[in-house]
Symmetry: C2
């Protein structure tokens, strides 16, 4: 497991603005580098220890933020010409590690719930959902120890 950040992946710490009635949490601005275009926003919840994935997009850039609970993301670079080909990255996003994870096309992604409460990610996707631009693999087809 290498620690080098996969090329074109961005990990951006985000501001949480404290307020006595409830905090405001930044997610994404159109003027930020991570923003490509707006295609669709959706939430995905993932139960404790469950894993969703693997999935790889041909066109979609993902911008992932976790407002509720904690989600572990594992990424694998599958672009043969990439300087980080075959590199894995792992991130746990939550309100205590509040950040945005930008995933370019061509990178495999899977994610796992890490609390017994609800774990919810927001994906601000650069294009609308289109099954023809995504590939899937079974969890066991990419070696990663999800038990740890």
């Amino acid at each position: 497991m290498e620690s080098k950040l996969i090329a074109d992946v961005e990990f951006t710490l985000l501001r949480q603005i404290e307020h006595p009635s409830g905090d405001v949490l930044h997610a994404l601005k159109a003027s930020e580098k991570s923003f490509k275009s707006f295609g669709e926003a959706y939430f995905s919840s993932v139960k404790m220890a469950k894993v969703k994935g693997w999935k790889k997009h041909k066109e979609m850039t993902l911008n992932l933020i976790v407002p509720t609970g904690a989600v572990r993301f594992v990424l694998l670079d599958d672009r043969p010409k990439s300087p980080t080909y075959n590199v894995f990255n792992e991130f746990i996003l939550s309100r205590t590690n509040y950040a945005r994870l930008t995933v370019p096309p061509g990178v495999w992604v899977a994610f796992q719930g890490k609390t017994d409460q609800e774990n919810i990610l927001l994906n601000l996707a650069s294009i609308e959902h289109d099954p023809s631009e995504a590939e899937s693999k079974k969890l066991e087809d990419i070696p990663f120890d999800w038990e740890t």
Copy 2:
């Protein structure tokens, strides 16, 4: 309190797609009528019984979705030429009333937390945050009974 929907306000029921590992929740697609442009996405949390508002935007269209907890939204149409001038609308959004509330410029908005757990809204705003295009009023400056 009238029940007529304020002109240009949209209340859109959204799909929650059930999945044994955790559901997927729709929010907004670029091809939908409620989408104007993408300026910024942010979350705002609001504690039980607390109210944030009033606020009115000159330019921003809000698209509001509640993935966690429950939030009560109260809207007041302040556009003199609107067919629904001075009309109030009230909505409670949650996972059991899972919907998107589209609020056009010129409409006052305030919102209140409705559960003892976290109550979080996502705003998919048509422009980036800009204090010069928003007006504020104190809670007591618009008559509404927040205790009920």
